[in-house]
């Protein structure tokens, strides 16, 4: 018996969650009158557009509001990016609003860090404290002594704007704990990060992407649609995920060997001349060097590395090429896997280039123009600042505007190359998302001041000096945001409050505006959100009315193929199969496969891999009352044969240990995972006293070792081996 929901359960969940959501709202003390409503009556609700905030996808929704209380969230049918869908998490968004454990007032720490003793303070006092501490840090350590980290949120752009005006280069987002390796690889190969046009594809290789559970709109829905129409989807994953279950074929690849598979695909495609010869000749550079590089990377060789039969690899290569250009190696999103993840993802990019699928239906398309104007400003320059980011020297190709959280954390702990003593965190939660939690704790201990602005008392907030309560996405006015949706074009959304802000919550924009005044740079926030939006939409005079009418605006989208003949944004102006930049920097100019290193310790025989359930968005959703009914705790996926050897039976408590830390959780004994691999969900085993539901299970970040991508500094979270034993066993 598994605690994971079946597909049918998942499809049913939307309805169930919506009903429960209404019940949650009705039970909220805020709406005693709602209890009296007779169930047979037609709902007397108002319908208001909103944008979901339960993950980064930001799907359009319609909130059904009755007497100031949100009763239900429905998908916005005009929001085509989600194909008119609102997932289980989206439906459960109501609980985020009415969660009794939500932050209600600013809180000032009175006990030791992480002890959970707080004093409620008013906003005036909270802002005064915050400004004062930031001013002190700037005076003592330069302005780069403040670090700013903002999560994937529509108002995060204001945090970055504030950091720049304040004068700090030290800004991180969630990206260096997630997707940077893939971005690095595609920027260095194609000159930009493309979008997959899944909807029109006939053949998709999902290598490590579990798109039917780790939902990305519209890709997740489109995969289901195209399979119905006969497209082939090949899944490579050490785990039998729901994507694997529904795919045309699944291969339980040996973890860390995806590049061997990609090089073998390239070998077959080149050796049998299955590539698009005209495209490759005109628009790529380095085919001769790539040919030599993959000459011995035969399917037979790759079989030895990946465990996938050579005949299957050769067949997949031929099928993929035959379906081209409506075929792709799906680029994926989270690529924070291995220390050589940039090179692994270069392998993905190179196979796509051979298929000639650039800017073609069913292939990879350049980001669609969105037309949102930036709102310029003129931040001051501080001559006494250090020359660069605190993590600048850690890796050769850091993205300057993203940095590396893992390397930044090391620098803060060391106090070198210069001290960083303050941290402003907005709606991101590194205590629950960055590997090796004890190091994040150590980093926080090294600070003079940590302020966390969030909706809930996250684990990071729990460690803070000052906690600021934020409104949920249904309670605030937000700037315009462009969302990409494959080949169909970008869409623009904004938010207006569906209900008035609850408790004493105040949007981060207002917090930053107030702080900018206290810190002497009010001109950086010399606007309100309405005027900011007007400036953002300057190119589209009709957009505001359409956004009010439909909840979404679609800017003009050029047809595919308009980039034909144009140079790529790379040094050679072509797709760089062979990277001259890498060669000049002493990096491998072609992706060199390395056999994954075995566990250094025979006692730690299992590679720990991360992944997602469709009901979990890491630690931001595991405390949600509705979603926790579907994922009440995490379990350790353990192969049935391995379990037998260890004497572990279904549901037994197991102790999992790595050099980073340890955890205890129930075993899910299953044939759905390789014998050498274990898996657990993130987001459980939390430490915050105000996240009571998610304190169960084990914390994956307690177990993961801190490793990083050697090229871009992205976190590398599949490099950890763990030991597993039944609790109480010797």
């Amino acid at each position: 018996m598994t605690s994971h929901i079946s597909r049918r359960d998942f499809l049913r969940l939307a309805g169930a969650a919506a009903g429960a959501a209404a019940a949650t709202a009705a039970n909220a003390a805020l709406a005693p009158q709602a209890r009296a409503a007779a169930p047979a009556q037609a709902p007397q609700w108002e319908s208001k557009f909103g944008v979901c905030d339960m993950c980064f996808n930001r799907c359009g929704l319609i909130a059904r509001v009755e007497k100031g209380v949100i009763r239900k969230l429905d998908p916005n049918p005009k929001f085509t990016k989600s194909r008119g869908m609102l997932c289980a998490r989206g439906n459960a968004g109501v609980d985020q609003v009415y969660d009794p454990e939500r932050l209600k007032t600013p809180l000032l720490r009175t006990g030791k860090r992480g002890e959970g003793r707080w004093k409620e303070v008013g906003w005036d006092e909270a802002l005064e404290i915050c400004a004062g501490r930031m001013k002190d840090i700037a005076a003592k350590y330069t302005r780069c002594g403040m670090l700013f980290s903002a999560g994937a949120d529509t108002q995060s752009q204001f945090v970055n704007r504030f950091a720049e005006a304040f004068g700090s280069y030290n800004v991180t987002s969630h990206e260096s704990l997630c997707l940077l390796s893939g971005n690095r690889a595609f920027v260095d190969t194609f000159g930009e990060v493309p979008l997959p046009d899944v909807k029109n594809s006939k053949y998709v290789i999902l290598a490590g992407a579990n798109r039917l559970e780790a939902l990305v709109t519209p890709d997740s829905m489109d995969l289901v649609s195209i399979m119905k129409d006969g497209a082939k989807v090949v899944v490579l994953d050490p785990r039998y995920t729901k994507s694997a279950a529904l795919a045309s074929e699944w291969h339980a690849i040996h973890p860390g060997t995806d590049l061997a598979f990609m090089l073998a695909l390239a070998h077959v495609i080149i050796a049998e001349k299955l590539y698009d010869a005209k495209f490759v000749a005109e628009r790529t550079s380095g085919l001769d060097k790539l040919s030599a590089h993959v000459a011995d990377k035969t399917p037979q060789w790759a079989e030895g590395e990946t465990g996938i039969p050579a005949a299957d690899i050769a067949r997949i290569a031929r099928e993929l090429a035959a379906a081209a250009p409506a075929a792709m190696v799906y680029p994926g999103r989270r690529s924070s896997d291995y220390e050589n993840s940039t090179q692994i993802r270069r392998g993905f990019a190179i196979v796509n280039a051979l298929l000639g699928n650039w800017d073609r239906p069913g292939g990879l398309v350049p980001p669609r123009p969105a037309g949102v104007k930036k709102v310029p400003f003129e931040p001051p320059f501080y001559d006494d600042n250090p020359p660069g980011r605190v993590d600048a020297k850690g890796v050769p190709l850091l993205f300057d505007d993203e940095g590396s959280f893992v390397l930044t954390r090391d620098a803060v702990i060391k106090g070198a190359p210069y001290p960083v003593k303050g941290w402003f965190v907005y709606k991101t939660n590194p205590m629950a998302t960055a590997p090796e939690r004890r190091k994040t704790r150590e980093m926080i201990e090294a600070l003079d001041f940590l302020v966390v602005a969030d909706i809930a008392m996250s684990d990071t907030a729990w460690m803070a000096d000052l906690v600021l309560p934020m409104p949920s996405a249904l309670e605030r006015q937000d700037p315009v945001q462009a969302l990409q949706a494959g080949a169909e074009g970008a869409c623009l959304v904004w938010r207006d409050p569906v209900i008035a802000p609850l408790h004493q919550s105040r949007p981060v924009f207002e917090v930053l505006k107030a702080l900018s005044g206290k810190l002497g740079f009010p001109e950086a926030f010399d606007f309100d959100i309405a005027t900011y939006r007007e400036k953002q939409l300057a190119a589209f005079p009709e957009a505001a009315e359409i956004l009010k009418r439909d909840g979404v605006f679609y800017p003009p989208n050029p047809p595919l193929g308009t980039t034909d003949g144009q140079p790529f944004k790379t040094p050679s102006q072509k797709i760089e199969l062979y990277s001259n930049r890498y060669a000049d920097m002493g990096l491998d100019p072609l992706p060199v496969y390395q056999t994954p290193k075995p566990s250094p310790d025979a006692g730690r025989r299992f590679r720990l891999v991360a992944g997602r359930s469709a009901c979990v968005t890491q630690a931001s959703s595991t405390n949600n009352a509705l979603l926790s009914e579907f994922e009440p705790e995490n379990t350790l996926w353990l192969n049935e044969d391995s379990a037998k050897e260890l004497g572990v039976r279904q549901g037994d408590l197991v102790q999992v240990e790595s050099p980073a830390g340890r955890g205890e959780l129930k075993a899910l004994v299953t044939p759905k995972i390789r014998k050498d691999t274990v898996y657990m969900l993130s987001g459980f085993g939390t430490i915050s006293g105000q996240l009571k539901r998610s304190r169960v299970g084990a914390s994956i970040v307690e177990l993961m070792e801190s490793r990083h991508d050697a090229i871009c500094g992205n976190s590398a979270i599949h490099e950890t081996f763990v030991s597993v034993k039944k609790k109480g066993a010797a």
Binding site: V187, K374, E378, L398
Partner: protein, 105 residues
């Protein structure tokens, strides 16, 4: 002594060259500030909406090799040679084919 100093300098230069393989020699961060102060008063308002990713690194290099040939050069009064280098460094290091292309303007 003199010789060892020059060898040391050569090594430092070599390391710096490798580490900054694609960075120009000025201060890109100061360049960004100066660019906003001195260039965006026209560009994006009355002149073309320029950003580092409007051009390639090679194009910026070519342009700044002979700045006096740039159309608006006459308006560059008061921009010191050092400031010019900083502005160039910013535009070059965040060019559209750079490792860290600027996001829009």
């Amino acid at each position: 002594m003199k010789r060892s100093t020059s060898i040391f300098a050569a090594i430092v230069l070599a390391i710096a060259t490798v580490g900054m393989a694609f960075a120009a020699e000025g201060n890109a961060r100061k360049g960004k500030y100066l660019y906003r102060q001195k260039c965006r008063s026209c560009h994006g308002v009355s002149a073309s909406d320029l950003s580092p990713n409007s051009k390639t690194q090679a194009e910026w290099k070519k342009l700044f090799a002979k700045p006096e040939a740039i159309k608006c050069y006459k308006d560059w009064k008061g921009v010191t040679p050092e400031e010019k280098t900083d502005i160039f460094t910013y535009l070059h290091d965040f060019a559209k084919d750079s490792p860290s292309p600027a996001k829009c303007n």
